[in-house]
């Protein structure tokens, strides 16, 4: 992975310039799309007032909580499925059934079970993040080379320690790709869950500004969210590069 080069920002700047030109020349009336400048001004105002920070913290507490729970549960489930046949037989059909369900569609049901507060939102995020992590953990553990396990056993590793010494490190690169997918899913589902019965969070901001016709503020939050998502992903990749420097895809 290379450091993000500045030159890649150029198309984005051109897009912003084209947008602003279209707005100023009335090619794109404000009723269809507010001008780039108005959106940028709203973004600045929301940042100064602290509004954005408050809602960001509320959102990321939910997304982070759900994501980290999903990482723990997902790796454990994937591992159990890969190692114990009966667990695989029991869980596989259930996971296949859940897979195509749009997870935000489960929000109303979770609200009936867990109330309209944070618990139902976090639960949906956990469910949505779980699948890619279970999947890649399962595949990663299953594809650990037999000779690697034999090699460890011949050097004195007991079967009990094999999991920590060989299986998990060997599966780590694959698990890491599932975790990366889960980060993106956590942000998407976080926003969706905040559209419904919420009084805080970036999804709530988008939904409420959109509802009162404040399109510039609404778009400002969307652009802010995209930037934040991008930065989180880059931070993850940078951390990963450090953690699995030994693996080819880190370079």
């Amino acid at each position: 992975m290379k450091v993000f080069p500045v030159v890649k920002i150029v198309p984005l700047l051109l897009l912003a310039a084209a947008w602003q030109t279209a707005s100023v020349s009335r090619l794109l009336p404000a009723s269809v799309l507010p001008s780039f400048w108005d959106v940028a001004a709203s973004l600045g105002a929301m940042m100064r007032s602290g509004e954005l920070i408050t809602h960001t913290l509320a959102s990321f507490a939910r997304a982070g909580g759900g994501f980290f729970l999903a990482v723990g549960i997902g790796i454990a489930l994937g591992l159990l499925m890969a190692r114990i046949r009966i667990v695989e037989r029991a869980l596989e059909p259930i996971l296949l059934l859940i897979y195509p369900v749009p997870k935000p569609a489960m929000i109303p049901l979770f609200m009936v079970w867990l109330g309209i507060g944070n618990a139902s939102k976090v639960a949906v995020i956990v469910l949505a993040c779980l699948l890619p992590i279970v999947n890649t953990t399962f595949n990663g553990v299953r594809s650990v080379d037999q000779t690697l396990i034999w090699s460890a056993q011949a050097r004195g590793t007991s079967s009990r320690r094999l999991l920590w010494r060989v299986v998990l490190p060997a599966a780590l690169p694959q698990i890491a790709t599932g975790v990366r997918t889960a980060i993106a899913i956590a942000i998407i589902v976080m926003v969706s869950s905040e559209f419904i019965a919420s009084e805080s969070g970036l999804g709530y901001l988008i939904f409420s500004y959109g509802g009162v016709g404040a399109d510039d503020a609404m778009l400002a939050v969307v652009i802010y969210l995209a930037t934040l998502g991008f930065l989180v992903d880059r931070c993850y990749l940078a951390g990963l590069q450090h953690l699995i420097a030994w693996h080819a895809f880190a370079h």
Binding site: W150, S151, A154, G156, R165, P169, A245, W246, H247
Partner: protein, 259 residues
């Protein structure tokens, strides 16, 4: 007659169920003495690697017995070091981490471990590469690390499963000399599987030829002469004669109709 060091008696190995059974090995009897260097050569499918995995304790025989110093082999253990053709190294550990892996499993102190690792890194000529990861090394260097990793646990027996099969001819010849030198120095017992007749003669004091379908021992040759380290054995008539005899024995297996 005294009990042999490593003793295989009527070892059978079958895969699959009833009608579709494959006889990987049938009726293997083999005695290996301490400090012997035995090479096993044969066509693919003759079960030579399976035989090695049985001695390693990674597989259990369908019937028959394997004993080391009179004790039945029941599983893998650090008394039998193994080098595979590929994937013996842990990609997430450096050369130092890989060579010291077995010592760490024995709860050895870091200082003591480092001292031993340094010695084996030196032995396989990898000084200066201690902090590299396996994927940063050439195939030949990776196999040197694998050899050092196996030796650092100080096994009694070294099991080698076509360890140089994926290397080019020059590197193979250099590593063959190193393995022979280490065998002389450390007085290990070595069981070495190969598909290369010349390699089998260059290394083995005894050469076991195997046949396929079912996998069985066809013929055993005593080398009867020494091969010195770095010797250009191409000029040795005894070497050429033995190589030819063994090649004919192996070649017959390719010409024989499948039983």
């Amino acid at each position: 007659m005294p009990a042999s060091y490593l003793e295989l008696r009527s070892v059978d190995m079958q895969y699959g169920e009833a009608a579709r059974t494959t006889h990987a090995l049938q009726g293997i009897d083999l005695d290996i003495h301490e400090h012997e260097f035995v090479t096993i050569v044969g066509p693919s499918g003759c079960g030579k690697s399976t035989l090695l995995y049985l001695v390693g304790g990674f597989l259990r025989p369908s019937s028959g017995s394997l004993r080391l110093r009179g004790q039945p082999i029941t599983g893998p253990g650090p008394d039998r070091g193994i080098v595979f053709q590929r994937y013996s190294l842990f990609p997430w550990l450096t050369v130092r981490g890989n060579v010291g892996y077995g010592l760490g499993e024995q709860r050895m102190s870091r200082a003591e471990r480092n001292r031993i690792v340094d010695a084996y890194v030196q032995l396989v000529h990898l000084r200066g590469f201690e902090n590299r990861y396996p994927r940063e090394l050439s195939g030949g260097m990776q196999q040197r690390v694998a050899l050092a990793q196996a030796l650092a646990c100080r096994p009694e027996i070294l099991l080698m499963d076509e360890p140089f099969g994926a290397l080019d001819a020059q590197m193979r010849r250099i590593l063959q000399d190193e393995v022979r030198r280490i065998w002389r120095q450390d007085a290990k017992t070595v069981l070495f599987v190969t598909h290369d007749v010349e390699e089998a003669v260059a290394l083995g004091t005894r050469i076991v030829v195997m046949a396929a379908h079912p996998g069985r021992i066809k013929e055993v040759f005593e080398r009867g002469f020494e091969v010195a380290d770095g010797e250009e054995f191409e000029t040795n008539p005894a070497f050429a004669a033995l190589k030819l005899r063994i090649w004919r024995s192996v070649k017959a297996e390719f010409e024989a109709p499948a039983a």
